[in-house]
Symmetry: C2
Subunit: 332 residues, 2 copies
Amino acid sequence: MPKKVTSFDVAQLAGVSQPTVSRALRNVPGISPETRERVMRAARELAYIPSEAGRTLSMRTTRRIAVVTEELTNPYYPELVEPLRRHLARHDFRTVVVTDNVEGPIGLEALADGSYDGVILTTTRRRSTLPRDLAERGIPHVLANRLLDRAESDSCGFDNQGGATAIGDLLVELGHERVGAVQGPAATSTGQERADGLDRALRRHGVHPWHELTRRVDFTHDAGRAAALDLLSRPDRPTAIVCGNDVVAFGVLSAARELGLTVPADLTVIGFDDIPMAAWPLIGLTTVHCDLDLLARMAVDLLLRHDRSPDERPAEHRVPTRLVLRSTHGPP
Amino acid sequence: MPKKVTSFDVAQLAGVSQPTVSRALRNVPGISPETRERVMRAARELAYIPSEAGRTLSMRTTRRIAVVTEELTNPYYPELVEPLRRHLARHDFRTVVVTDNVEGPIGLEALADGSYDGVILTTTRRRSTLPRDLAERGIPHVLANRLLDRAESDSCGFDNQGGATAIGDLLVELGHERVGAVQGPAATSTGQERADGLDRALRRHGVHPWHELTRRVDFTHDAGRAAALDLLSRPDRPTAIVCGNDVVAFGVLSAARELGLTVPADLTVIGFDDIPMAAWPLIGLTTVHCDLDLLARMAVDLLLRHDRSPDERPAEHRVPTRLVLRSTHGPP
DNA sequence: CGGTACTTTGCATACGTATACTTGTCCAAG
DNA sequence: CTTGGACAAGTATACGTATGCAAAGTACCG
């Protein structure tokens, strides 16, 4: 195995000192064009690639940002990670996806060992202490998608309340009265806000929410399917099911298919997020659109802004949502 | 902002030297229990977290493995990345997903800057020189899923030939004669092998493959949909469409839905891979099962094995596949 | 021609951890 | 009482890059 080429090797070949190599290759001013050219030729000849670890140690910066998500096999997260990656790349940051909640919650050590210049949290639970821990260590971070009960860190999320209201209005307008729901975990802000929002919206129209027809489950297809199989087997089965997000809605659609129910004739299903899969003609889910690209952009801007005064209150942005009508809704 | 705590700070508080801290915290033998205890208390008190960069530079190892994939919004890749991550974690390696082919192909620099102890390639094209470049630098690597034309590196993939044969047999048995196909790119081994395999299988049964009914597209939903809209609008439209993988098949199902065709009554659709989504009752795709967990395990074993003699020929493993019958196939 | 200012480069060192080597201590064997 | 060995901890240094500062060279001006 060929031993690693360092900036010293390049320096030797070019007949200069190591610091000159460092400066020449990074286009630092104060190097004569001829020297720079000579160094670059030597570097190319040796196929020199600067050591990331050396640079990191010296500069105390990695140009790497950690994005904390749950398992990527949940189709929601790639849709959020991808725009984050793109926007971070635009600022010359590399993205590292760190998986949370798979063998226990992510620890502070994994995020605070100097591997990352900042952290974007997308799976934080309402009372998590992780943001505070990061703040105490002076590690830049931002919450995207999910928010904390007490605004302790910069954060951005969607107008879940507004989206849920739009869903409630739609269902009432269609004439639904037995409205079921498969909502997300109460420990997450998204789960909580969407559930509360729907409740309030229905009540405002004089429709009494049926709490026996509400389930709280994880944001996965299988959990949505199981809950729906349960709800749809009841004698007083709902004529519509509102879901915590699209992935859960896919599970509900799976359950309906299994039970031989036709959507939307026998059952209305509403999602939340409008991930690309929801728009596949094969699925055509009626849902609430959330602009993930805009959220990602906001999160990155919040993370990287440098004009933050020390005693400023944490920012909390809300991205508006809008109902998207496709083919899984109809009258009861 | 609190300045960073180093092993020197811990040493000072514990009244020992820095190397003693290093040894004590890693349970290296040759440290008295009392000293170790004292060091650990000091470390906890200061909330010390060792610097990744320092360790990396000193040990010349990162315990990080790069997994090169295409965009994660393509549902196939998370399904491959997740088992890889799990198996690597079992060996105390962290996984970093590096995205290829998004703003141009991934460069060697990003993989060979010392950030990773090894590389797992999942998107390599048949004539890519990346594996050779990695080999020249002595960077351990392995190909998973896709293979090279000339076996230059350890690699593992699925028995695409066998899977395609099973599909051909099934279609002939059902009585299909106008068999269309939406296959993957010819530049990829998976695309090529699956297409060739189907051709051979049909020919063996005396069914002449209709090359006008074959399209080569990228492995995405939208590409599959577009190709199928084209094929299904022809007067001699196929009675079955074989797809390069499941994601493409989803696109074909979308197209069928748009055109008002009923599956499987009007059209048979066959996928390849059997990712979990294919098994959702909502979709119920007939496809070829590929054991991604087994492939991942193989890839990790090949990558990490240390008993490799220098002049050994590259290993090339094939994981068997099997047809899974669900609800998108039927007689013409 | 002397001095000043500027440009270009080298020297020394910092970053944080790990490890080979050395020193010191204590105990047991001779 | 000496010596050899085992153990514990300290000393010195390496890993690869970046940067403050000094030094050398050059150009320019009076």
